[in-house]
Amino acid sequence: MNNPPDVSPDPAEHEEYAHNVAKHVKGYLIVGAILLAGTALTVALSYVDFGNSKTNIAVAMLVAAIKVSFVGAIFMHLAAEKRLIYRVLIFTGVFVCALFWLTYLAWYNPIVRH
């Protein structure tokens, strides 16, 4: 490739568009930094003794959940997405939870003889 491909964006409309996106770039960098910090935090917290391993897991999952919500909200634009996509994701979320929760229940309610 020699020269950058020549493009002529639609004048007025695109100006505004590009401007909008440019505004976000800084945000993306900040989120990247937060995520890195979060990673460091996870590692650090895993060496803190919270009493038992269940609590440790819960804490680590909490940090992970926060990180994930940043990725989702900012990188994947879920902070401002169309309604349709929210609906799809809400259903998915419900069913994943059902999978986890009900399997868990079934697992821990076996027939036992007293």
Binding site: F91, A98, L99, L102, L105, N109, P110, V112
Partner: protein
């Protein structure tokens, strides 16, 4: 509708020209590697029907063994023994391994290579874009990829019959640990064995379904014609929409389970194997620590929604044909739509009703019993609405209608017998007996298969431009109806006697099968059932001949041979690439039959509302367009 929903894009002129070029596609691109939804639908349909017939043939073989256990199969027995290799049918006598292979593959093929491809992929591909007035699926290439993934999966499944040891033997449910220890050992190849191939085949089938389903949903959301609001969608489109969601969300957990089972078989992990197993008299050299029930949970998390995948499209087809041939609107359209949505939602949280006897305590089983009974309510509503729709109609009994009407009571019997299964204390008695076999076959065989036949007869003219023969259609219908019932009704009796499924000897060695009911012993009923199954095989011949003959020689069909109302009937028969000559617009609901004050008894969706028209109160409000 405001003008912004217009289909026009600024590229339009350019693309028109491109579309023209595409007409000159070569034979391969048109018929084999096509990306046109109609051709893909037809490909799916043909392959699916062939698999359906193949799955049925496996069962006809098994029915010999069940009726005459241990006797050599006459005429073709020896040849089959050679075809399927040693260990299958030496001297024409079926071995238990081969019986188990046939059973597992019958279930797998019927469901995943027969019904799903025909009911969902074929009809969905062919009909849905036409019914919503779209030029094609949103992602034509992915659509083709979906078909080819299906093809690869099918070929792998078929190949597995011919590897040493034969095809998978663990039932279509492939319960671990049986499925993990099956087909292993010195006489089996570590990779080329039935069970491992079954797993790999499945990965492709799942991929195929996922790609297809994503495409369907996107198409229905994005490509509906102008004016075709959600509440104006034909019911068939709704059922496909919900079905696609079931596939997208329920298949992946099974895929996860399949991957784990592959690991268990190929990499010697023990996801599904507990510690301390003794197989063949020797402790297994595995790390253990896994759980057999994990497989069942993940399997049925798909397995139950899957059965609604088998029935919803059938309900959709039936709805179209009932409305068309009773010449009146479907009764309770809104409640139908609502019921389908509820059905889809609930189907995700009932799966453990297949696992009542796995040691489930009282809390969890109470939960799953409740949800299972709840899910029967929308089914009741749908079926009732169909029945009520007939009242006041002017019913034409053409072949599609015959099959569609037969669907109703057949599904009814199958559904009703699901009710005792839903109570774990009653299922305690019925679990894994022929009662269960009868329950679900009534739904999928005389139920779904009849709906598929109805759909084939109904949309055949759209796909080919020719009608299928009515007379031979009736010759197909009546014997099929009778045989189906002679096959499956006695199975309820066998189940009540206590005869269990997957019995290679048909119950011959069991006392419970020696008891008499309705004048025959449980075992003797097998002869009736098997004979009916073979006669039904014969009854399919008129259909097969009719089908292929009519493609070339059937009576020429007009655009709208059934005087139907939905958008697919405004396109030419067969529709060209791009489907419609001009973008269709919908002005009204899908089933405006016998609208008062008209001189014809059908009013197409694309017909604008006349100023003089007395607008029906029940006509659903058009949905507001939200940005």
């Amino acid at each position: 509708m405001d003008s912004s929903t217009s289909l026009e894009t600024h590229h339009d002129t350019h693309h028109r020209a491109a579309a023209h070029e595409e007409h000159k596609l070569g034979w391969w691109r048109t018929y084999i590697f096509s990306t046109d939804h109609k051709m893909i639908g037809i490909q799916y349909g043909l392959c699916g029907l062939i698999f359906l017939f193949f799955g049925f043939s496996l069962m006809m073989l098994m029915r010999w063994q069940l009726a005459f256990p241990g006797q050599a199969l006459p005429v073709i027995g020896n040849a089959l023994g050679h075809l399927f290799g040693p260990g299958s049918m030496p001297d024409g006598k079926m071995t238990p391994e081969f019986y188990n292979s046939l059973g597992a593959m019958h279930g797998t093929i019927m469901i995943f290579l027969g019904i799903v491809p025909v009911a969902f992929a074929a009809f969905g591909n062919f009909v849905v874009p036409l019914q919503i007035g779209a030029p094609d699926m949103t992602f034509p290439k992915i659509n083709a990829a979906s078909f080819w993934a299906f093809g690869v999966g099918g070929v792998i499944m078929l190949t597995s019959f011919f590897v040493p040891g034969g095809a998978a033997k663990g039932g279509w449910t492939s319960y671990a640990p049986l499925s993990v220890v099956a087909d292993t050992g010195p006489t089996f190849h570590p990779f080329w064995n039935g069970q491992t191939l079954w797993l790999f085949g499945f990965v492709f089938l799942i991929t195929s379904s996922l790609l297809g389903a994503i495409n369907f949903i996107t198409t229905i959301i994005q490509l509906r014609a102008k004016g075709l609001t959600w509440m104006r969608l034909p019911f068939f489109v709704w059922t496909q929409f919900v079905t696609a969601f079931l596939l997208v969300l329920a298949f992946p957990p099974l895929e996860a389970a399949i991957i784990m089972q592959i690991m268990d078989r190929v990499a010697a992990t023990s996801f599904f194997m507990p510690t301390g197993m003794i197989v063949n008299g020797a402790p297994l050299h595995i790390s253990g620590g896994g759980s057999p029930l994990l497989w069942q949970h993940l399997f049925w998390f798909l397995g139950h929604p899957e059965v609604y995948v088998l029935i919803l499209p059938a309900m959709g087809i039936t709805a179209e044909i009932l409305a068309n041939n009773s010449r009146k609107p479907l009764w309770g359209y809104k409640s139908l739509v609502f019921s389908v949505l509820v059905l889809g939602f609930l189907s995700f949280i009932v799966w453990a009703h297949h696992m009542w006897l796995t040691g489930m305590g009282s809390t969890v089983s109470a939960f799953f019993q409740t949800t299972t009974l709840l899910i029967s309510i929308p089914s009741v509503i749908i079926l009732s609405a169909f029945f009520i729709s007939l009242w006041g109609g002017s019913i034409r009994f053409n072949v599609p209608m015959l099959f569609a009407t037969a669907f109703l009571p057949m599904f009814g019997i199958g559904g009703l017998t699901g009710i005792p299964l839903a109570f774990n204390s009653a299922d305690l008695y019925l679990h894994d007996t022929y009662y269960v076999i009868a329950h679900f076959h009534y739904i999928v065989a005389p139920g779904t298969i009849f709906a598929l036949f109805a759909g084939i007869y109904y949309w055949f003219p759209k796909a080919t431009g020719r009608m299928m023969n009515e007379f031979w259609g009736k010759v197909h219908f009546w014997p099929s109806l009778i045989c189906m019932n002679v096959i499956f009704l006695p199975m309820f009796l066998q189940g009540m006697l206590g005869m269990h499924r997957r019995w290679y000897d048909g119950g011959q060695g069991w006392n419970v099968a020696g008891e008499t009911v309705w004048g025959q012993t449980g075992f003797q009923w097998n002869t009736w059932i098997s004979s009916a199954a073979w006669i039904m095989g014969l009854a399919q011949i008129p259909f097969i001949i009719n089908f292929f003959w009519s493609i070339r020689h059937g009576k020429k069909a007009k655009e709208n041979p059934w005087d139907a109302t939905t958008l697919e009937w405004t396109a030419p028969s067969p529709p060209p690439h791009g489907n419609f000559l001009s973008a269709p617009v919908a002005y009204r609901g899908p089933y405006e039959y016998s609208l008062p004050g008209r001189d014809v008894d059908f009013t197409m969706q694309s017909e604008p509302i006349q100023p003089t028209e007395h607008v029906r109160r029940t006509e659903p409000e058009p949905e507001p367009v939200h940005a």
